[in-house]
């Protein structure tokens, strides 16, 4: 019986064949594993930051922290949307391409005014996200493959718009859009404030609204959610649309920050976003996750990147090795913790 449990973690708790085999009543250890699941990443982030600020004089300076915050902002916005998708038990591989597409559309649109520059990427990316959602929810295709196709399609569209990546549209200096990306308010870059506002809104939507409850319900057990009357298909369409909208917005803001729609960006970003979400304690099996955790996950990835850059003598490819190893350690820990919680 126990071996079945250790071998079938991919299945959700509901269709695992065995009953709880561990002694019930170890409430303390359950609380402990829940706490580690939710706040483990935060503890590691604080530890790494603490060690880094003692080891490198240049780490805990205002400049370095400000730069890190701004460069984290764009990935964080993408990871926010990814969190919703993953809580429903899905995955969105198209965000990196949508990020690039959003940036190019914003830069292209900026010659027609700021409003066009902001609305165009949102409209196009939102539409692609809605198509993703429709194919996943109504046609019941696997999210993995639908968003993979969208990833290829969106990048193709972006390349078609830019003469195969040869054209780079610029965003004029002094425009409202450039100010939005490059300006600072109270010493922090505007993208950081926008990101924080989006995360607060996201946390409220997930925790305090009916939509948020539906997101958890769909991810926890889709059939049960449908039986309870939750609008499963609508919820799924909404989360994929939301994820695409946020990816497009992040791309537009990033373009505003760089003052141009750079075409080579965003590849591999879907994997970074997924890593951040998973590190932040959201389960890939769905039904359990935290918006705040994803923010911590993004910061942790960026701090590790920064520390490796500080060491200097280390090649940047070590960063990939460390990131990969780190992700492996986190998912191993999560799988253990998650199993314990499911059993209890």
């Amino acid at each position: 019986m126990t071996t079945t449990g250790t071998d079938a973690p991919v299945t959700t708790a509901s269709n695992e064949p065995e009953e709880a085999t561990e002694p019930v009543g170890s409430a303390r250890s359950e609380r402990l594993s829940a706490l580690t699941q939710q706040h483990g990443a935060l503890a590691v982030l604080m530890l790494v930051s603490l060690v880094a600020s003692f080891s490198f004089d240049t780490f805990a300076t205002g400049d370095n922290l400000g730069n890190m915050a701004t460069s984290s902002a764009f990935l964080a916005i993408v990871a926010l949307g990814m969190t919703f998708v993953i809580i429903t038990g899905g995955i969105d591989l198209s965000v990196g391409s949508l990020f690039a597409l959003g940036g190019v559309l914003a830069a292209w649109g900026s010659r027609h005014g700021t409003l066009v520059a902001l609305l165009l990427p949102l409209a196009v990316c939102g539409l692609i996200g809605a198509v993703n959602g429709l194919l996943v929810a109504r046609s019941r295709l696997a999210p993995f493959i639908v968003t993979l196709a969208a990833m290829l399609g969106a990048r193709g569209l972006m390349l078609a718009l830019t003469d195969e990546g040869a054209d780079t549209y610029l965003i004029g200096k002094g425009s409202v859009l450039a100010e939005l990306g490059q300006g600072k308010t109270l010493g922090l870059g505007n993208p950081v404030w926008i990101t924080l506002a989006l995360f607060v809104a996201g946390a409220v939507a997930l925790r305090r609204t009916r939509f948020g409850q539906h997101v958890y319900a769909v991810g926890g057990n889709e059939d049960a959610a449908a039986l309870m009357g939750a609008p499963v298909a609508r919820t799924k369409i909404l989360v994929y649309t939301l994820s695409a909208l946020l990816a497009g917005l992040a791309g537009a803001l990033n373009a505003a920050w760089l003052a141009s729609g750079v075409t080579i960006l965003g590849s591999g970003m879907e994997l970074e976003a997924i890593s951040a979400v998973v590190i932040g304690g959201t389960l890939l099996t769905g039904g359990l996750g935290y918006v705040s955790g994803s923010l911590v996950g993004v910061l942790l990835l960026k701090v590790i990147q920064n520390v490796i850059n500080q060491i200097g003598s280390l090649d940047s490819s070590y960063q990939q090795v460390v990131s990969g190893a780190f992700l492996a350690v986190v998912v191993i820990a999560q799988t253990w913790l998650g199993r314990r919680r499911q059993l209890m």
């Binding site: 071998d7 019941r140 492996a328 998912v331």
Partner: protein, 320 residues
């Protein structure tokens, strides 16, 4: 579920979809061949066929391993990174001769496959995340071992990449041989049966006493080894080791080939002939667009449409 509604349609959509699902990929390849021989100048030449086949051979080899992994209801995102790792390790150990280098490549690849398999089968991590970790880490390791492109001057390696038997390049022979071998394993061996049983229902396979963990680990090791073979062959063809870009997006090409070829993502079924045809279909599609001076962006959009069409045709045919 939706059958009642479908039955009222005058045109039997279900059967059309089923036909498309089973034979669509071959029909697609056939159609592209016919269309190209009419509209593309110099398409029907031995030289062109050889070029196309040599280009698609590494994709086919990687897709064979991917088909096995997908047959167990998994996915292997680390194949591109393994190709890069194979290129790096080849460059590092080629000084000792080709055979020791190949041995070292096999060891590294088996290590990656073992790590994937252990994460999936023993720890119980979802395949997509487990292999994502190895994808990021593997590419990093490849770059740590060999930070930039390196030209390789080795006659044995060069002949592996560009040699032929009676006009048929080694690359094509190796890909064909491996495809036959994998098809044989899936259809005619106990291991093949076990693999499909595990993919069909892991709890049931467990209850039936099948060695589920061992099957999963072996599948991921085989996938990594096949990716390494593709990496070595690609390196031999380039006569250079390029860990930065070799195998980039290969996981997507391989998954596309498998899915377009009619293997369901839900596991329990593996279609090797379809996988080979799927890889050829994508290759021909790309070649057609390129030969008619359509930009690469069109290729990607076309590929996206083909993927969605393929999974749409396969809809509801896997287990629920």
């Amino acid at each position: 579920m939706a059958e009642a509604a479908l039955r009222t349609l005058p045109f039997d959509k279900n059967r059309a979809l089923q036909w498309l699902h089973t034979y669509g990929v071959y029909a697609g390849v056939g159609a592209l061949l016919v269309v190209n021989s009419v509209i593309t100048p110099h398409f029907l030449s031995a030289e062109n066929f050889r070029t196309q086949a040599v280009q698609v051979a590494p994709v086919i080899i990687v897709a064979l391993g991917m088909a096995l992994v997908i047959g167990t209801e998994g996915v292997d995102l680390s194949v591109g990174a393994v190709m890069a790792l194979a290129a790096s390790v080849t460059a590092l150990y080629l000084g000792y001769g080709l055979l020791p280098a190949l041995l070292a490549v096999a060891l590294f690849a088996a290590g990656v496959g073992l790590a994937n398999g252990a994460l999936v089968a023993v720890i119980g991590v979802q395949p997509i995340v487990a292999t994502l970790a190895l994808m990021v880490g593997g590419r990093g390791l490849a770059l740590v071992l060999l930070p930039q492109l390196k030209d390789l001057r080795n006659p044995a390696l060069a002949s592996l990449g560009s040699g032929d038997v009676l006009g048929v390049p080694y690359l094509i022979l190796i890909a064909a041989g491996l495809a036959l071998l994998v098809a044989f394993v899936v259809r005619r061996t106990t291991f093949g049966r076990q693999l499909l049983a595990v993919g069909d229902s892991r709890p049931a396979a467990q209850l039936a006493g099948l060695p589920v963990r061992r099957v999963l680990i072996v599948v991921y090791v085989v996938s990594a080894l096949l990716a390494a073979v593709a990496g070595v062959l690609a390196t031999a063809r380039l006569q250079a080791s390029d860990p930065t870009s070799l195998g980039n997006l290969m996981e997507l090409s391989a998954i596309t080939a498998v899915v377009v070829g009619g293997t369901p993502l839900t596991g329990g079924r593996v279609n090797i002939a379809g996988t080979v045809a799927g890889a050829v279909l994508i290759q021909l599609l790309t070649a057609t667009l390129i030969k008619h001076d359509l930009p690469p962006s069109w290729t990607q959009i076309a590929q996206a449409v083909v993927i969605v069409a393929a999974v749409y045709a396969a809809r509801g045919r896997g287990k629920r």
